[in-house]
C-alpha cells in the first residue's frame, strides 16, 4: 500500500516537472503569513498534525470541526447584517425592512461621536454625527432605534467599545421600558478595548481603566444577563488594518486570554463567564487560508481554555461571528465586489461561522443603499437555500491541504501567543506598541505587493474596466442629523429631573474612585436621562482621556521596489526638487474628526518617506483648525487628508477656511484620500482640493502626482 503510494508520488513528481519544467519541491507559492503552499498535498502531510486531532468529530474536542455536532444541518448560520446611520428613526426603519426580508439578527453600527463618548452637540464632533453609524445621545434614541422590535425575541449585536458603559446601559433601560427584563435580553456587545488601542482607535480612557470596564461588564452580565454575550473578541479590525491571518489569529486569542484573566481577577470562576465569550473574525480573499483560520481558532482556543482550568464544555468552545473583508473591496469597477464578497462568504461558511455579515458592494465608496444591502443579504440567502452547503458539517475535513493549513496556522499563531505571554500579556504588549507596529508592517507589505503588481487586484492594477460604472450612493445630510439630535438633547435636558441626574452622575464618579462595578451606576444615570456624553465625562474625571502616541515603521514599503522604475523615478524627482528648492517636498498627513482608522494614513506616510519626502504626522482626532496651525507652522508644501468615515464634506471646507484665516496668501496644496463617493468629487474640487485618491490608489503614482502638483504650484508663485 505504502509502496504503491511512493511509486505514484514519484510518477507524479516526474509528470509535474515535465509539465512545468520545474521540480515540484521548488514550485512553492508564498502567502502573506509566510506559509509555503505546495502544489500538492498528500496523506504524508497528515502525519505532521499535532494541534489538529485527526479522529475528532464536529462538536468534539478540540472543536476544529465545529462547535456543534449538527451545525448547519440543524440550523443554518445567522444572517446578521451590520447597519446603522443617521438618526435612530431612520435606522429603525431600515432594520424593520431588513427583518421582513429574511435577516435574522440585528447588528448596530454607532456613529463615531457615540463611540468616543461625545454628545452630538459637542463642537469636537461636528463633522461626524450620524455619518458612519447611528447617533445615540440618550436612552430615548435607543428606544426609537428598537421601536416595534421586541427585544425579548431579537438578538442584538452592538459594536461598541469606548462608550460601552452608557450604551449597554441604554440598551438595558430601553429593554426595561419595553417591559423586557434584562435577564431575557440576548445579543452581544463588542466590548473589546484592546484592539482599539491596536488598530481602530475608538477608545476613551487609558488601557488599565478600560480593562477594568471590560471586566465589570463581564462580571455584571454573567450574573444578571445570562443570555447576553459580554464581549466579542475581534480580529476583524486587525485584518482590516492590514494584519495577515497569523497576526489576526494570534493577537485575537491573546486578547481573549487577557480578558479571561481580567474577569478571573474579579474573583469569577472561569466557567461562570467563559461560555458567554464570543469572537469576531474577518474573512478576506485568501479562500482556503480563511477556512483554515476559523478551524485553527477553535482548535487553539479549546487548548487555551483547558489551560485556564475550564471544566464546562461550553467554556472550551469558540463561537464566532464573521464579516467579509471591507478592505478587499475596491472603488474601481465596484460590481466586482459582489463576487469578492460571495467567495469570502463561502470561506466563512466552510470554516463554520455562527453568524455572518456580508458587505455591500458599494461600501468602498459610501454607506450601503437599500438596493446594495439587499444584494448583500441575498448573497447569504442564496448560499443557505440554493447551494447545498448546509447539508454536510465541515465538508473540507480530511482534505490534506486544509488540514495541513489548519495545523500550520495553529503553530505559527501559537508561537506569537507565547511571545506575547512572555512579555506579560496583551495589555503590556499593547502599551509598548508592539502589535500595532507589527500590523502596520504587514499592512505596508501588502500595499507594496499591490502597487508593484506582485498581487493582482482585478479592475485595479490589472484588467481595468475602460467604462467605469457610476453607482448611486446613500447621502447623509450630516447637518440635518446634527440639528435633529441637538433638538432632542435640548428637549430631554429641559424635561428631566436635573437633581436626580446630577446625583446619579456623581455616584458614578465616586464608584469609579472606589473601584466598584460601574455598570449598575451607569444604568441608573441613563435611566435618569443622563446623556452618553455626560456618563462618559463622569468617568473621565477619574480616569482621564487617553491620547495615543504613535510610532511608525520605515523602509518596509521601499524594500519592495529596489529596482522599480516608477519608484526610482519618484525618488529622483524628490532629489531634483531638493536641489532646486533648497529642501525636500514636505507633506503633512492628517486625520480629522473622530475617525480613528489610521492604516491608510500610516501607509501613505511611511511610503512617502521611503520615496524621500519629509512627512509630518499629526495626532489623531485633530480639528481642522489644529491641522491648519500645524501645516502653517511647519510650512509644508501640501496637506494630505485621510478620511474614511464620511466626514469630508464638513471637515475639508473647515480646513480650507482655517488655512485662509491663518495665512490669507496660503497656496498650500490640499489632497484627500480614502472613502469618497464620486458624487462628492465636484464639491471637493470647488473647495480647491488639488487631488482625490480613492481606495486602491497606487501610492507611487499618487506620490508622483503630489510632487508634480507641488512643483507646479511653486512655479506659479
Amino acid at each position: 500500500m505504502t509502496d504503491k503510494f511512493r511509486e505514484n508520488f514519484d510518477n507524479w513528481q516526474k509528470s509535474f516537472e515535465k509539465e512545468t519544467k520545474q521540480s515540484s519541491d521548488k514550485a512553492i507559492s508564498d502567502t502573506d503569513e509566510g506559509i509555503e503552499i505546495k502544489p500538492v498535498y498528500t496523506k504524508d502531510d497528515l502525519k505532521k498534525l499535532s494541534f489538529v486531532e485527526e479522529n475528532s468529530l464536529p462538536g468534539q474536542w478540540p472543536y476544529t470541526r465545529g462547535p456543534k455536532a449538527s451545525m448547519y444541518t440543524n440550523r443554518p448560520w445567522t444572517i446578521r447584517q451590520y447597519a446603522g446611520f443617521s438618526t435612530a428613526e431612520e435606522s429603525n426603519e431600515f432594520y424593520k425592512k431588513n427583518l421582513e426580508s429574511g435577516q435574522k439578527g440585528l447588528s448596530v453600527a454607532f456613529d463615531l461621536p457615540t463611540h468616543r463618548g461625545y454628545d452630538s452637540d459637542d463642537d469636537l464632533v461636528m463633522g461626524d454625527v450620524g455619518k458612519a453609524g447611528v447617533a445615540i445621545d440618550t436612552v430615548e434614541d435607543m428606544k426609537i432605534l428598537f421601536n416595534e422590535i421586541p427585544l425579548d425575541k431579537m438578538s442584538v449585536s452592538m459594536t461598541m467599545n469606548g462608550a460601552v458603559l452608557p450604551v449597554l446601559s441604554a440598551f438595558v433601560v430601553a429593554g426595561e421600558e419595553q417591559n423586557v427584563k434584562k435577564n431575557l435580553l440576548s445579543g452581544t456587545i463588542q466590548n473589546d478595548i484592546l484592539k482599539e488601542f491596536m488598530v481602530r482607535n475608538t477608545y476613551i480612557y487609558p488601557p488599565e481603566p478600560s480593562m477594568k470596564i471590560v471586566a465589570d461588564i463581564i462580571e455584571f452580565t454573567s450574573k444578571e444577563m445570562p443570555k447576553f454575550n459580554s464581549i466579542s473578541i475581534s480580529g476583524y479590525h486587525m485584518q482590516e488594518a492590514g494584519a495577515d491571518n497569523v497576526l489576526e489569529l494570534a493577537y485575537t486569542l491573546a486578547d481573549g486570554m487577557e480578558y479571561v484573566r481580567a474577569a478571573m481577577s474579579k474573583g469569577l470562576d472561569v466557567d461562570d463567564f467563559a461560555p458567554r465569550l464570543s469572537f469576531f473574525f474577518a474573512i478576506g480573499t485568501d479562500f482556503f487560508m480563511e477556512i483554515a483560520k476559523l478551524r485553527a481558532a477553535r482548535t487553539l482556543w479549546s487548548k487555551i481554555m483547558r489551560d485556564f482550568g475550564a471544566k464546562n464544555e461550553k467554556s472550551l468552545i469558540l463561537r464566532t461571528h464573521c464579516q467579509t473583508s471591507g478592505v478587499s473591496l475596491t472603488e474601481k469597477d465596484p460590481y466586482n465586489n459582489i463576487i469578492r464578497t460571495s467567495y469570502e462568504a463561502m470561506s466563512a461558511i466552510l470554516g463554520g461561522t455562527q453568524s455572518l455579515h456580508t458587505n455591500s458592494f458599494d461600501e468602498a465608496i459610501a454607506l450601503p443603499t437599500d438596493e446594495s444591502a439587499r444584494i448583500a443579504r441575498n448573497t447569504q440567502l442564496i448560499l443557505q437555500n440554493e447551494t447545498g452547503v448546509t447539508k454536510t458539517v465541515d465538508p473540507l475535513a480530511g482534505s490534506y491541504f486544509v488540514e495541513s493549513l489548519t495545523e500550520e496556522l495553529s503553530q505559527k499563531a501559537w508561537e506569537i501567543i507565547e511571545e506575547i505571554e512572555e512579555l506579560g500579556g496583551m495589555t503590556k504588549a499593547v502599551k509598548a506598541g508592539i502589535p500595532k507596529l507589527k500590523i502596520e508592517e504587514s499592512a505596508t507589505k501588502k500595499q507594496a505587493k499591490v502597487d508593484s503588481g506582485n498581487r493582482v487586484v482585478v479592475g485595479v492594477n490589472k484588467f481595468k474596466n475602460p467604462h467605469e460604472p457610476s453607482v448611486d450612493v446613500r447621502v447623509i445630510d450630516n447637518n440635518r442629523v446634527r440639528d435633529d439630535q441637538i433638538k432632542k438633547i435640548e428637549s430631554i435636558k429641559g424635561s428631566r429631573n436635573q437633581k436626580a441626574v446630577e446625583k446619579s452622575l456623581s455616584d458614578l464618579t465616586n464608584a469609579a474612585k472606589e473601584n466598584l462595578n460601574l455598570l449598575a451606576y451607569s444604568i441608573e444615570a441613563i435611566k435618569n436621562r443622563a446623556t452618553i456624553g455626560e456618563v462618559s465625562k463622569a468617568l473621565e474625571e477619574v480616569y482621564g482621556r487617553h491620547f495615543a502616541t504613535s510610532l511608525s515603521v520605515s523602509g518596509v514599503y521601499g524594500k519592495h521596489f529596489e529596482n522599480d522604475e516608477d519608484f526610482m523615478n519618484v525618488k529622483d524627482k524628490v532629489e531634483g526638487f531638493e536641489k532646486s528648492n533648497g529642501r525636500r517636498p514636505r507633506v503633512l498627513i492628517v486625520k480629522m474628526g473622530q475617525d480613528g482608522h489610521d492604516r491608510g494614513a500610516k501607509i501613505v506616510a511611511t511610503s512617502f518617506a521611503d520615496m524621500g519626502f519629509d512627512v509630518d504626522m499629526g495626532p489623531l482626532f485633530q480639528s481642522p483648525k489644529d491641522v491648519a496651525k500645524d501645516a502653517i507652522e511647519n510650512d509644508v508644501h501640501a496637506i494630505g487628508v485621510s478620511t474614511l468615515a464620511a466626514g469630508h464634506k464638513t471637515l475639508v471646507p473647515e480646513l480650507m477656511k482655517s488655512l485662509k484665516e491663518l495665512d490669507p496668501n496660503s497656496k498650500m496644496i490640499v489632497f484627500v484620500g480614502g472613502v469618497i463617493p464620486e458624487q462628492d468629487y465636484d464639491f471637493l474640487y470647488k473647495q480647491n482640493i488639488s487631488a482625490i485618491f480613492g481606495p486602491g490608489s497606487n501610492i507611487i503614482e499618487s506620490a508622483e502626482k503630489v510632487i508634480d502638483l507641488i512643483s507646479k504650484n511653486l512655479e506659479l508663485k
Partner: protein, 321 residues
Amino acid sequence: MKLAEKIINGERAAIAKAITLVESSKPDDRIESRKLISQLIDNPGKSIRVGFSGPPGVGKSTFIESFGSYLVGKELKLGILAIDPSSQITGGSILGDKTRMIEISKNPNTFIRSTPSRGSLGGISNGTREASIILDAAGYDYIFIETVGVGQSEVVASNLVDIFSLIVGPGSGDELQGIKKGITEYADIFIVNKNDGNLKIEASKTAADYKSAISYYKKNEVSSSKEVLLVSAIEQTGMDEVINTIQEIVLQNKKNNSFESKRCEQLKFWLSEEIKNIMQLDIQRKIDKAGSIGHFSDRIINGDISMYDAIETITDKLQSE
C-alpha cells in the same frame, strides 16, 4: 510689509516661512537668510532658550507636552524647535514628534516646528540657531530646542541655548560611570522622568546617582548651578520645580554676568563654525573641480606614487589656485 516686520509682529505664517528660508540649502536663500538674520538680531527679544536632550524613548516629547502645557497655562508664549532624526537610507523622514504634543500644539500661544536632522552633526540641523533668533524676535518667552541625545549632540546643542537640560529615565544611573565628565560639563539640569507608578523608587535612586556624580565637579566649576529634578510627564508632577530651577539659574547667571558671557562665547562659536562651514564647502568645491582624488588614489594603489607625495602634490596645487 517686509518679512522681518511681519516676524516682529508675530505673524505665524511669516515666522514659518522665515524658518524655511534659514534652513534652505539653496545658495540664493542663504544670502536672503543672512540679510534677514542681520535685521532680526538688531531687534532682540527677551527669550530664554532651553535645550532638552536625551536618549530615544525617555519621553522627551511627552515631557515637553506636559511642561509646555504648564507654561502656556501661565500665559507664557512658547516656541518649540524639535529636531527629528531623518532616515539615512532614503533621505526622507517621518516627523512624528507632534503626535505626542497634542494639547500644546492646539494652543495659540505656541509655535511648534519640526525639522529633519539631515544627518548633520549632533542632531542639530542647519538653521536651528537662526530659527531660534526668529522666534526670539517674534516675541516668544521661552524657546525649547529638542534634540535626540546621541553622544556629540550635547556639545552642539548646548551651544545654542542658555540652559541645557538632559532628560533621563529611571535606571539610567548605571550608564553614568563612563560619561560623567561630558555630561556634567554641558548640562545645567538633569531631569529624571517617569517618576510615577512602580518606577518611583528606581527614579529616586537614579536621581541620587546623578546627584553624587555631579557633586565631584561642582566645586571646580564657575557655573555651579547644576540641579537634578524628578518629574512625571504623564502625571504632570514636578513641573513647578523645573520652571523655578530654570528661572533661578537665569537670575543667578544674569547677576554674575555669566548669562551674557555665555551668549558671547556662543557668538564666537557660531562665528568660527560659520567660517569653517563656508571654507569647507569652498575647499570641497575646489577638490571636486580638480578631480584629482580618484586619479591619485589609483596611482597610489598601483604603487606609482606614495601616499605622502600625493598629499603634498594635491595640497600644493590647491593652495596655488
